[in-house]
């Protein structure tokens, strides 16, 4: 087992990684408030488990936790939406995407239409710029699965983008 992060080092890690992890979560859950919650929960779980706080593995653990918790947040949101009558639906928050160029909005909308796992792989590969091995570790799947998922996801993305032209 490697060296364990001390309390003050955890605070430094939080300061250094929070923004990056919130950005990752935003790409997966799309709204900033949920993304901040996901990251705070991930850090809280990390802080509560000294045995997980290995210095060398900290960022990898937190990244995996953010991906998993983002997926859980989406599931909860889908479940809630399934049972909320339309007139009871909460008002939509300000849409950040309105600030983006049409080209980027189009790509992100296409990304939204992919399966969650495909979206995660693409985000980790093309935004986090992780290797196949790192993505496999973060998602708990094999490298082969990462490769095939990424390939299928890019194909699907291309088709969606072509269809929207």
């Amino acid at each position: 087992m490697g060296t364990v992060l001390a309390s003050d080092e955890l605070a430094d890690l939080y300061a250094a990684q929070r923004l990056s992890l919130v950005r990752l979560a935003v790409l997966l859950v799309d709204d900033l408030a949920s993304a901040e919650d996901v990251v705070q929960d991930a850090f809280a779980a990390f802080a509560a488990r000294p045995e997980l706080r290995e210095r060398e593995a900290a960022v990898g653990y937190l990244r995996a936790a953010v991906v998993n918790r983002s997926r859980s947040a989406l599931r909860r949101r889908r479940t809630a939406r399934a049972y909320v009558a339309p007139h009871d639906a909460p008002p939509a928050g300000p849409d950040d995407r309105a600030l983006l160029a049409d080209e980027h909005r189009e790509v992100l909308s296409a990304l939204d239409r992919l399966a969650p796992r495909q979206r995660e792989v693409l985000v980790l590969r093309y935004w986090s710029e992780l290797s196949e091995a790192e993505i496999a570790e973060a998602l708990g799947i094999s490298r082969g699965a990462v490769k095939s998922t990424a390939s299928r996801a890019i194909d699907a993305l291309e088709k969606i983008l072509e269809a929207t032209r």
Partner: protein
């Protein structure tokens, strides 16, 4: 990179560039917990031994004998009310417990004339021959490793829920597997039969956490003291469990919906209804009571 990959990378960067430090809600880093004392380690060794035994027994337990449809059980000697036909019965405001003839805690009774809905015939189930589960200690962490029939492996480092930590119940059991929609899921129970159950999918992602509730966290009924576990989540989803004995299987007998909301449902076990529950409130998530 291809054109699509370039476009994707640029769009992702553009999206995240909108998130800056000044937009984040001010917050403080979580306080780090002190390392646990070493007393847990022997407990985890015991847990690992129990998990190994469970992993060995799992294929036999989950195969459930010949794996065929369960036979209707012999009616008990005591007189029992009959089940209304699923084809003609529907939830109604004036239905009373006596109408259905069963309620929570009522003895199950035989009903051989009704077809049984078996979720495991339409959806994938982690069968003993197709999968294995292993729970072992990893350093000071309990890790659940799952291997599916196609060779896919995944693992999850289990985090005890706060209630289990508070109660000192830090020995989970990988209780069984069950079906939700089209995906096989795994249950990890903390703190005995009234404890919290964490539900994981086969990729090791926590699906949800189910607190014990009087009506749906578990239902006890069965022959010769046999225990039936069933789970109905707060959103009304229904799950069939395959108990380690291999003899008792619980599945939805009937679920009826009103505007997409399950309002009336019946648990069944090997040709017998076990109980019915109704929801008459628009709460989200819906709540149920025996009816």
């Amino acid at each position: 990179m291809t054109g699509t990959e370039d476009r994707l990378a640029e769009a992702l960067r553009a999206r995240t560039d909108l998130i800056t430090h000044d937009r984040l809600t001010p917050s403080v880093p979580p306080v780090a917990a002190e390392p646990r004392s070493a007393w847990r380690r022997p407990a985890l060794y015991a847990l690992a031994a129990a998990a190994c035994a469970g992993a060995i027994a799992l294929p036999f337990a989950l195969s459930g004998g010949d794996g065929g449809r369960p036979s209707p059980v012999t009616p008990p000697t005591t007189a029992a009310p009959s089940l209304p036909s699923p084809a003609t019965s529907s939830p109604s405001a004036d239905r009373t417990p006596a109408d259905d003839g069963f309620s929570e805690g009522a003895s199950p009774f035989a009903d051989a004339n009704h077809d049984v809905l078996r979720l495991d015939e339409s959806g994938p189930v982690i069968r003993g021959a197709d999968a294995s589960l292993h729970l072992f200690s990893f350093g000071d962490v309990a890790r659940l490793e799952m291997t599916l029939g196609d060779g896919t492996k995944s693992h999850v480092d289990l985090e005890p829920p706060a209630s289990a930590v508070a109660a000192g119940d830090l020995l989970p059991t990988v209780h069984t597997t069950f079906v939700a929609d089209t995906a096989p899921l795994v249950l990890v129970r903390w703190g005995g039969e009234k404890g919290v159950t964490q539900v994981f999918d086969h990729s090791g992602n926590q699906f949800r956490e189910l607190p014990f509730t009087s009506y749906f966290g578990s239902n006890q009924a069965g022959e010769a003291g046999g225990r039936v576990w069933s789970v109905l989540t707060n959103d009304g989803s229904f799950y069939a469990l395959h108990e380690a004995s291999g003899k008792i299987e619980v599945y939805p007998w009937r679920v009826e919906y009103d505007a997409g909301r399950p309002v009336y449902l019946v648990l069944g076990n090997q040709g017998r209804p076990l109980g019915s529950w109704c929801s008459d409130t628009p709460d989200v998530p819906p709540s149920y009571v025996p009816c």
